[in-house]
Amino acid sequence: MMFYLLASVCLGSAMMVVTRKNPVHAALFLVLAFFCVAGIYVILSAEFLAAVQILVYAGGILVLFLFVIMLVPLEPEGMRKPVRTARNVAWSLLSALLVAGVLMTFFRGAQPVGQGGSVDTLVAYGGNIEAVGMELYRRYLLPFEIASILLLVAMIGAVVLARRQV
């Protein structure tokens, strides 16, 4: 039942993120949503991912967001005014129908998580963190190194873009 609590708190705070006028409030609700997602990862026995989620999202990305919010002045703004033309309403109804169809597909062939495959293979190495580390450094070594190059490129790009004069 912990999952439903976390999921509803997460969805509520995500809703607050997209509706608050003040970006600082939105950022703080964003961190609440990230923590709830980390809790869901723990429930799904992905402890390594939960730790990474808190370190990277709640630690790094949120600080970056708050830093930029303080660099640019607050200009309060709300949501866009909805334009209710017949075409827009028709498209919205179509999208709502699509989402309802996807949800119905989800609930048709329901299968509990953790019964399809054997979860014990995950912990055969001696814990999720060790298993993920083994996989990362054995099978996925090349993608891992490429990801580090990607981070380097993103860092250089961010520095160049945010420099005073380009």
């Binding site: 999952f3 999921a7 997460c10 993120v17 997209v18 970006p23 939105a26 950022a27 964003l30 949503a33 997602v37 869901i40 990862y41 799904l44 026995s45 992905a46 991912l49 990474v52 990277v56 999202y57 990305i61 970056l64 967001f65 930029v68 919010i69 660099l71 640019v72 200009e75 703004e77 949501m79 866009r80 996807v102 949800l103 989800f106 329901a110 299968q111 509990p112 998580v113 953790g114 019964q115 399809g116 495959g117 979860v119 995950l122 999720n128 996989e135 990362l136 996925y140 990801a147 990607l150 981070l151 490129v153 993103a154 860092m155 790009g157 961010a158 520095v159 873009l161 945010a162 380009v166």
Partner: protein
């Protein structure tokens, strides 16, 4: 007790839709980026759910790479926002129409 996978998928679908609402309806570029983060998180929840369902770690590895990409994307996106503010004095995405999109 095991969580039904459809509940997880529904949760991530709703999270994705909320993020998309943020991207489509907000005018503050910072909050648009926050919406993108919510959508990436929804995708990660799906990866972890299927990883758990199939007892295969590949989904979790992919989610780790997803987080890496999200971190890089946010760094570059916020740098672009700073550059925009420096050149145009606004981060309102409705007023930034230099590419006539």
């Amino acid at each position: 007790m095991p969580i039904p996978v459809n509940h997880l998928l529904s949760f991530s679908l709703v999270l994705f839709i909320i993020g998309m609402i943020g991207v489509l309806t907000r005018r503050n570029a910072i909050i648009v980026l926050m919406g993108i983060e919510l959508m990436l998180n929804a995708a990660n929840v799906n990866f972890v759910a299927f990883s758990r369902m199939h007892g295969d770690l590949a989904g979790q590895i992919f989610a780790v790479f997803n987080i890496v990409i999200a971190a890089g994307e946010v760094a570059v996106g916020l740098a672009i926002i700073i550059a925009l503010y420096r050149n145009k004095d606004t981060i309102n995405v409705d007023e930034i129409s230099i590419m006539k999109g």
